[in-house]
Amino acid sequence: MRDTKQPKNDDSKSLAGRLVFLAVAMFGFGFLLVPIYDAFCEITGLGGKTNSIAATEVATEVEQDREINLEFVTTVNQYAPWEFHSQVKEMTVHPGGMYEAIFIARNLTDEVKIAQAVPSVAPQIAAKHFRKLECFCFTSQEFAPGEEKEMPVRFIVDSDLPDYIDTITLSYTFFDTARITDNSAVEHGTSHVTR
């Protein structure tokens, strides 16, 4: 009986080994979901994320007879001590034309603060047709105590924006980046704050 059981034990060990490997692989797969998710959102434009680096300027024809209503929404994250608003609440733009909008932020504390604005576009499908040439959201912004800054966004709404979209909402949320330390610009800022 012993002898007939012996090969079964070996089978058990090798099967258990393969199953452990499966578990470890699935742990890795959980982390792999992060780049997959990012790539998926970038390709499809889902999630309302706009480009995070400046888009190159291309001369496109301005569609003078099509008007898009652009609305601005500004939010300050719960723990961020800022005043933050856009200069105008909305503007009318023509697809293909280049425009500039000004956002104004003021540091309400008497400390140096680093802010990061995170953009989002609604409807989501408009996100990849909203190309920013320059944006204060590309890098984090340093504010002296009580400093107020005017920050520009220059953008083009692509002419291939789907026909049924007549309103685009551009939203910015302002975060205090003191707890984010993985980006060198911010790291500099954090040490500044602690000093």
């Binding site: 089978d11 199953l19 499966l22 699935m26 742990f27 959980g30 993985d182 980006n183």
Partner: protein, 534 residues
């Protein structure tokens, strides 16, 4: 000479359990470990139940009466974590430990020492989780789904929450590996895969689900941990992360998890209904394929938990239809159980009563699940008491009733004595009435717009909440009957059970004596397939 060797060998092999605490702490016997799992599960069921009663007491009437909102949120979170990971999952693992070797004619689990580990990690994990109740900032209060950024506001409890989830995951993974290896390698010689009993089949599928998704949960909570303490930004928007991504990763685990909690219940019911209908299970093979289809579909429906996060129409349609597709294999199972009873010589002992209540009430939970799958409806129902009603219908009269049915069904085999049948029936009727009094009004509350996870509510919700609270207290007290009945049975107070226990039940577990000896099937059974039904 060979005879003497065989004798000493036999003496050595047939020893009983060691005396005292060593039997339990160093346990490698599948029956001992199964017993410990079931006891842990019963204790956790009452701990989670007390938390549920705190919730329902607060919700008895509008306004804040007994607890503050922060503590209320801790109770909802801890109730869910304890019931999911402490009551339902260990109960099914305990049943698997006890019954899988008996049902396939194996002497023990394939990896007994790992089995010991996977059990003993659990009390440590729950001690750690329970200790968070006494920490500054209190226990986790962000819901069992642990969504960031809210969960990152948890106080000192946060790392303890993460590590206890890690431990629970490791325990489940080791348990799953053990069950797969046992089923694959240790079946009786003539038991082919398709001849396996349904409980064994559903556990094999469940174990693969566990292996596939528990590591993903471990990864998700690890990301929460590094976001909080090591400067990563997986889920922090300020650093380029995305909190919605957590929901995707969590529900990639979370949806298969709900089938992890119900597939073994399907297996239990598939054992009980044939016995008390005195007919073989109708459509055994189609049951196997249905369970496998459910398991496969569970991986491609996760985003139906997230319809309100914003999703393109094509995504909503895909997840809606994929979710509704699950109703097909589930319907196969429900109709097969019904067909098993058709023209059967039915009798209604306590396990059968629980199995029948499972069939009715789980189906109600399944139907409300279909309603939730409809995207435009879900946007209304999302985060309302309708959702609470739905998942409690599939988990309480679903999973929990199946566990109770299984305990009543197999307990005479475990202890050698019958439980008190009259008390069992009383327990059944009280539980079934009160579970409906508790959870049915929640459908109406949800449709009327009452949000979940809120300690206070508008006065128009008062009547149904009072009814639900009365039901909850009744349900909680009824379970004391269950505990008493189990304890009396373990203390051998009932009449002596025969080896077959029931009237000609099918399966190898009924061929061993009652109570099942400490070691069984040391030589594989000669014929694994009994055909006593004619």
């Amino acid at each position: 000479m060979s005879a003497t060797v065989a004798d000493t060998h036999a003496e050595h092999e047939h020893h009983g359990p060691v005396a005292g605490w060593r039997r339990w702490l160093y346990a490698t016997n599948h029956k001992d470990i199964g017993t410990m799992y079931l006891i842990l599960s019963l204790i956790m069921f009452f701990v989670g139940g007390v938390m549920a009663l705190i919730i329902r007491t607060e919700l008895f009437s509008p306004g804040l009466q007994f607890v503050n909102p922060a503590f209320f949120n801790q109770m909802t979170t801890m109730h869910a974590l304890i019931m999911v990971f402490g009551a339902v999952m260990p109960a099914f693992v305990g049943l698997a430990n006890w019954m899988v070797p008996l049902m396939i004619g194996a002497p023990d689990m394939a990896l007994p020492r790992m089995n010991n580990w996977s059990f003993w990690i659990l009390p440590v994990a729950f001690a750690m989780l329970a200790s968070t109740l006494f920490m500054p900032g209190g226990a986790p209060a962000s819901g069992w789904t642990m969504y960031p950024p809210l969960v990152l506001q948890t106080g000192d409890a946060f790392p303890f929450l993460i590590f206890s989830v890690h431990l629970l995951g490791i325990s489940s993974i080791m348990g799953a590996i053990n069950i797969i290896v046992t089923i694959v390698n240790m079946r009786a010689p003539d038991m082919s895969l398709l001849k396996m009993p349904m409980f064994v089949w559903t556990w094999l599928i469940t174990a693969y689900l566990l292996l596939a998704v528990m590591p993903v949960l471990a990864g998700a909570v690890t990301m929460l941990l590094t976001d909080q303490f090591f400067g990563t930004s997986f889920f922090l928007a300020a650093g380029g992360g995305d909190p919605v991504m957590f929901q995707h990763i969590f529900w990639f685990f979370g949806h298969p998890e709900v089938y992890i909690m119900i597939l073994p219940a399907f297996g239990v019911v598939s054992e009980i209904i044939p016995t008390f209908s005195r007919k073989p299970l109708f459509g055994h093979d189609s049951m196997v394929y249905a369970a496998s289809s459910i398991a496969f579909l569970s991986f491609i429906v996760w985003a139906h938990h997230m319809f309100t996060t914003g999703m393109p129409l094509t995504g909503q349609l895909f997840f809606m239809f994929a979710t509704m597709l699950i109703a097909v294999p589930t319907g196969v199972k429900v109709f097969n159980w019904t067909a098993t009873m058709w023209r059967g010589a039915m009798s209604f002992e306590t396990p059968m009563l629980f199995a029948l209540a499972f069939l009715f009430l789980f189906t109600i939970g399944g139907f409300s699940g279909l309603m939730l799958a409809i995207v435009p409806a879900d946007i209304q129902y999302h985060d309302s008491y309708f959702v609470v009603a739905h998942f409690h219908y599939v988990l309480v009269p679903g999973s929990v009733f199946a566990v109770m049915a299984a305990v009543y069904y197999w307990m005479p085999k475990w202890t050698g004595h019958y439980y008190d049948e009259r008390m069992g029936k009383l327990h059944f009727w009280l539980s079934t009435i009160f579970v409906n009094v508790t959870f049915f009004p929640m459908h109406f509350l949800g449709l009327a717009g009452m949000p979940r996870r809120i300690p206070d509510y508008s006065t128009q919700f008062a009547d149904f909440n009072s009814i639900a609270s009365i039901g909850a207290i009744g349900f909680g007290l009824s379970q004391l009957l269950f505990a008493y009945n189990v304890i009396q049975c373990v203390r051998k107070k009932g009449s002596t059970a025969t080896d077959a226990v029931w009237d000609q039940p099918q399966g190898l577990e009924w061929t061993v004596p009652s109570p099942a000896p400490y070691h069984t099937f040391e030589t594989p059974p000669t014929s694994s397939v009994k055909t006593t039904f004619s």
